[in-house]
Amino acid sequence: MSVASLDLDLEVFQGPFDLLLTLVLREEVDLLEVELADVVVTYVDFLQDRGEIDLEAATEFLVLIAALLELKSRMMLPVEETDGLELEPSEAADELLARMLEYRRYRDAAAFLRERLTAEQGYRYRSAPLPAHLRRASLEVAEAVYEPDRLAEALGGLLRLPPQIDLHHLARPRVSLEQRLAHVRTLLRKQASFSFDDAVQGADRMTEAVTLFALLELFKSGEASWDQSEPFGPITVRAPAGEERSAGAGRASTGPGSP
C-alpha cells in the first residue's frame, strides 16, 4: 500500500496520513491534539484489508509514525517523571524544533533549485546524432569481428524451397442441391410432416446447409411449408395440405421462410 493512500478521520485532522506530519512540521496541526493511537489502528485495519505488505511503504509509515510518536511523547513528558532523562520543557520542544528547522532548510534549498532551473532554461545543449562517417567502424582500425560462414549459412537458408502444402488429405464434401431436393421430396411423399432434424440426421454441416437451401426452393415452388415455434427450436416440415395453408398466416412470423 502507499502511505499516501491511508485515509485518516481524526478529531483534529481528516485526510491522508502522509499529510499529517507535514502539517505538524508546518505548524498547521497541533501534534498534542492528534490521537496517534487512532492512526496506528487505522493503519492496521488497512493492512488487514489489503492482506499484503509493501515493505518500502511500510518502512515509510513506520518512519513517519515513529517520528510523530517521539515528538509527541517528548512534548508531553511531565518534568517530574523524566527519571534520569531530566528533560526541561524547552528540551522537549527541541526535537520538534530541530525537525522543523531541518525541513525548512530543504524547503528553501528546493526554492533555490527551482529558481536555478528556470535561470538555466535559456541555455540549450546540442543533441544531434554523430555525422555518418563517425558512426562507422573506421577502415584503418577495423578488425575481423564477423564470421564469414554466417553469410554462407544465410544464403543456404535462402536456397531452401518451402515444403509443398499437400491438401489431398482434406476430403472435400460435395453435396448437390439436386440430391437434397430429391431427398426432401422423398420424405414428403412418405409422410405428411417430418422434422428437419430427421431430414439431416447424421449429416455434416455442409449437407445441413444445402438441405435448408433445398427447403427454401420447395417453399418457393409451393411444394412444402414449415414452422418453427421459437428461434433455434425444432423445425417441422409439412406437405402443403389445403387447410394448413389457410392457417399459415398465423404462424408466418416465426417461420424462416415467411413471406
Binding site: 499529510l19 515509510e60 513517519l64 524544533l97 530543504y106 545543449y125
Partner: protein, 193 residues
C-alpha cells in the same frame, strides 16, 4: 586559433555530453595543460554576450550551449517543449537527494514529513536522480545524475551552495522555539499518545 583549439572546439561541438579535461587530453593526444590553454582561447572566442554559443563548464566537463538570447527563436524553430518546471514536492526531494546523497526514500519522507513516492518516481523518470545501491536496511538509495548537474548548470556536485545558506535565521529559530514552548506549556496535563 591553433590546431588544438580547433580540434577541441570540434569535439565539444560533436559530443552530446560535457567532456572532461582528461578525456579531451586523451582524444587530442595532448597534455591537460595544453588543453586548458586551448580552452582558454576558445573561451575568448565564445565570450559571454558576444556570440550565440557559449562555452560552459558543467557536470564535470566542458560543453558548448546556446546563449539565452536565442531561447525564443530556438523554441520557434525546434518546437521542442521546455523542460517542465519542478513542483514543490519534486524540488524538495531533489534538494534532499542533492545534499544528502546517497539517501533513501524513508529518509526523504522523514525530513519532508510526507511520503515521497510519486515525486521520487517523477525525478527518476526525468533522469534527475538514479538508484545507487541499497542501504543496510535494504531501502533503495538515490543520488543525482549528470543530467541534474547539466540542467542546473553545476560544474560539479560540490558547486551546490553550502546548505547552511538555507538555514533559517537565528531570529526565525528563536521565534519558532518560543511558539513551540508556549504550545507545550498550555498543556500541562498529559495527553494520551
Amino acid at each position: 586559433m591553433n590546431e588544438l583549439a580547433r580540434i577541441t572546439e570540434a569535439l565539444l561541438f560533436l559530443s552530446p555530453e560535457p567532456v572532461s579535461l582528461e578525456r579531451l587530453a586523451d582524444a587530442t593526444e595532448s597534455g591537460e595543460g595544453e588543453v586548458l590553454e586551448a580552452l582558454a582561447r576558445l573561451r575568448e572566442h565564445y565570450a559571454d554576450g558576444y556570440r550565440g554559443v557559449v562555452l560552459r563548464e558543467v557536470a564535470g566537463g566542458f560543453t558548448l550551449a546556446t546563449d539565452p538570447v536565442a531561447e525564443k527563436a530556438a523554441r520557434r524553430l525546434l518546437a521542442r517543449p521546455r523542460t517542465p518546471p519542478l513542483t514543490q514536492a519534486q524540488a524538495e526531494c531533489l534538494a534532499i537527494v542533492g545534499y544528502l546523497q546517497p539517501v533513501s526514500r524513508p529518509e526523504i519522507a522523514r525530513i519532508r514529513g510526507v511520503a515521497s513516492e510519486s515525486a521520487t518516481a517523477t525525478l527518476l523518470e526525468r533522469g534527475l536522480v538514479e538508484e545507487s545501491g541499497r542501504s543496510r536496511f535494504g531501502a533503495v538509495l538515490y543520488r543525482t545524475t549528470e543530467l541534474f548537474q547539466k540542467l542546473f548548470g553545476l560544474e560539479a556536485l560540490d558547486a551546490l551552495p553550502d546548505v547552511s545558506r538555507f538555514d533559517p535565521t537565528p531570529e526565525d529559530e528563536r521565534d519558532l522555539r518560543e511558539r513551540l514552548l508556549k504550545a507545550g506549556e498550555a498543556r500541562a496535563e498529559p495527553h494520551q499518545a
